[in-house]
Amino acid sequence: MSYFEFENCARIISGENSVDTIDKELCAIGGKKVLIVTDKNIQKLPACKSIKAKIQANPALVIGAVYNNIDGASTVASIGEMYEIYRVSGCDSVLAFGGGSVIDAAKCLVLLLATQARNIFDSLGINSAIRNKKIPFGVVSTTVNGGWQASKYVTVKDTVAKKSGFIESDIMIPDFCILDPSLTMTLPEKAVVKSAVGILAYCVDAFIGKQSSILTRDFTKGALIQFNKAIRRIEQNDEGVETRAMLMEASVLCGIAYTNSMVGVSHAIARALNTLYDCDFLSAICAVTKQCLLFNFETSESDYAQMFMYVAEKEVYAATPLDKCGSGFVDYVLAAVEELGKKFGLPVTLAQLQVPIQDIDLIADEVMRNYAVLANSKTCGVDDVKTILNNCFGEV
């Protein structure tokens, strides 16, 4: 067996009303005085009030402070503010309550506190940070893709120095992650569907990537099973709590898989677009999935064939000759992205994301700086990235 490493992500507490366990979970990880990281919109939700009430009702816990100034990205400025509030108010633990931006910002704060570094940019790269101190850290996700957000990756920006960087560190993995589908009911259906497309794209990268292992593949298959159940419900206009729970489960499973397989070119491009143009990561994934899938077909046809079984109708799969299953999977994904894109107004080209076509060279350079591109199943050089990007625009 060739070498692989595999780690699971945070302790997961999932299911309707699982958020009610928040105080017990915080106590279990040793939290006493908690800094809650959230954003202004989420802070207005009744769920936020009930979480605070739950924590306050537990005599072993105190809310040290609430930080709500997250504006869409993990910036050096916001991390610095949080750090100061944490220190001044004497907090000893961190709770992120929100979506991707909130969770990412909290992860950066935990990294800074645990390493006792002065600057978050000291921890750039893959597992370069060394833990000096354990910071109890919990996450309550308000999006359906919270599973993969509770991973060890984050992109950090310095808006003053105009630079950005990517961090992978085990230190950022939360101690627990609560995935309560009832908290996602205020999300618009477009966001739910975008997450579903994101899950599919993540699954593909996790399955075919050079770093994938027998375990990551089985976790991906588990994610595809849950994804498939959810997508059938979405097709019947059912985006209720059970559908969201299924997507959350799929996001956990594919999050575990992709955390261990270092992902691929579609991630690298989406991260570059997020860094350069503040594009929403999931929208960027939606816009590039198709071309990345086609780019990798040559090296990954047999992997696509294996995944086909988990997304196709059983009769369709049974009737498809083995040598056609790979292209069958591609057709399935392309049709799903196309259909969902039309129905819910998702971006399917880079032009729709307002990305300037003249910046292809700049984007390609940024992509090549991201190690996720190295894990892509087909070796992908800068010219390949430019071709993919061109094709993503060519669909206008």
Binding site: S2, E5, E16, Q226, L253, Y317
Partner: protein
């Protein structure tokens, strides 16, 4: 329903996995590891290989303790704990077989509780030691050790008293499975651990449907076992087969550990304790009979056919027949192994007395959730009867 799942273990598996151990220790912020190994492991040379892997990393072992034999005793554990504290160690590496691994886990539990005497209730908490969550790195050298890398630890006081721990606190942080560290076992022992892993993985897939987060481990274990169980029994000297099988054992146990207490695990504990029988053998025997009794959900059994038989077998079998086909597959695996290593056995072979069935059943019911479908006296008696010969 609220579903909680903890995930602490990292796996380093395959060729040259050991080379990454020092880096992993470092990533936990540790630099003074204590090494626990056993006498046999030392004589086999694995300790030297492990220390050699640290050469270029600058990591030094702070102190070594060497167990005599393959069981951990209370005296061993308390001696190791003292050494750990005295030498300001910050993490534990256990290298070897069941005894060394159990000792490492027991020390981890005591450090976490801040106690200096081993018992279940921390009543000897004397405040002598500072509470410490010491990371545990496990390097098993054979199949028996591989499964020990998870949540259980067994420490002997004397012949009549054994501390059996089953707790998250005992869970290792990192398990390293590297072919250079693996040791051969006789075919019957390989068959025993292989079938046990197979039974655990199948039970994890079929026992309940809220297994979304741990089913992938079980499926991976079954996939590995499908290709490596028989070759490993027949050719255990082949390092690839036995390393693969060790991975399967770890993944199957990982999946199974999420189930908590089940009828099969409780019955196996009761019988193995009462008659000093091998737990793994009792468990796989009971499973082989249990699966034929149609207690598992038909839907989950049908889905189990996919990892057991592969995609072709799954697709070619009509939906209604899949559950029965799964049972046939399981029976075939057991039959093939039994035929190869002459491994026919029943509870009677373990010295179980039929007259004790009632007491065994009652004891098992006492450990199970009363609402559990399995906790029915008549059913347990039927299972015991079926497993007798």
């Amino acid at each position: 329903m609220i579903n909680a799942i903890s995930n602490n273990i990292q796996f380093l598996v395959g060729d040259k996995a050991l080379c990454n151990l020092a880096y992993k220790i470092n990533s936990f912020g540790c630099n003074r590891p204590m090494l626990i190994c056993d006498d046999m492991t030392y004589r086999l040379g694995q300790k030297k290989i492990l220390l050699h892997s640290f050469d270029a990393t600058g990591l030094n072992i702070a102190v070594v303790d060497q167990l005599i034999g393959n069981i951990a005793t209370v005296a061993d554990v308390e001696r190791i704990l003292n050494l750990f504290v005295k030498n300001n160690c910050d993490c534990i590496i256990t290298l070897g077989r069941r005894g060394a691994i159990s000792a490492g886990k027991a020390v981890k539990i005591m450090l976490k509780d801040g106690v200096n005497k081993l018992d279940y209730y921390s009543s000897h908490k004397l405040g002598a030691y500072e509470v410490l969550d010491a990371p545990l790195f496990v390097v098993p050298i054979n199949l028996a050790g591989a499964g020990e890398g998870l949540k259980s630890a067994r420490v002997y006081q004397d012949d009549s008293k054994v501390f059996q721990f089953e707790t998250d606190s005992a869970e290792s942080n990192v398990i390293v499975i590297d072919e250079v560290m693996t040791d051969t076992l006789p075919p019957k022992a390989v068959a025993s651990y292989g079938l046990y892993a197979f039974a655990c993985a199948c039970e994890a897939c079929a026992h309940c449907d809220d297994n979304i987060y741990f089913r992938p481990y079980a499926v991976t274990a079954i996939n590995i076992l499908r290709e490596n169980l028989m070759p490993s029994i027949l050719h255990n000297a082949n390092v690839k087969f036995r390393t693969n099988l060790m991975s399967a054992v770890v993944f199957a146990e990982k999946a199974y550990s999420y189930l908590g207490s089940t009828l099969l695990s409780e019955l196996s504990h009761i019988i193995s304790d009462r008659y000093r029988a091998n737990y793994c053998n009792v468990f796989s025997l009971l499973f082989a009979r249990y699966i034929t009794m149609h207690k598992y959900s038909q839907e989950l059994l049908a889905e189990l056919l996919l990892p057991l038989g592969g995609e072709k077998a799954y697709i070619e079998c009509v939906e209604e027949a899949r559950a029965n086909r799964t049972i046939e597959f399981v029976e075939q695996v057991f039959a093939k192994v039994n035929e190869t290593v002459d491994y026919q056995y029943g509870l009677s072979k373990f010295g179980v007395d039929k007259a004790h069935f009632t007491a065994i059943a009652e004891q098992a019911i006492g450990y199970l959730d009363p609402d559990d479908e399995e906790a029915r006296y008549t059913f347990i008696m039927e299972l015991l009867e079926k497993s007798f010969e």
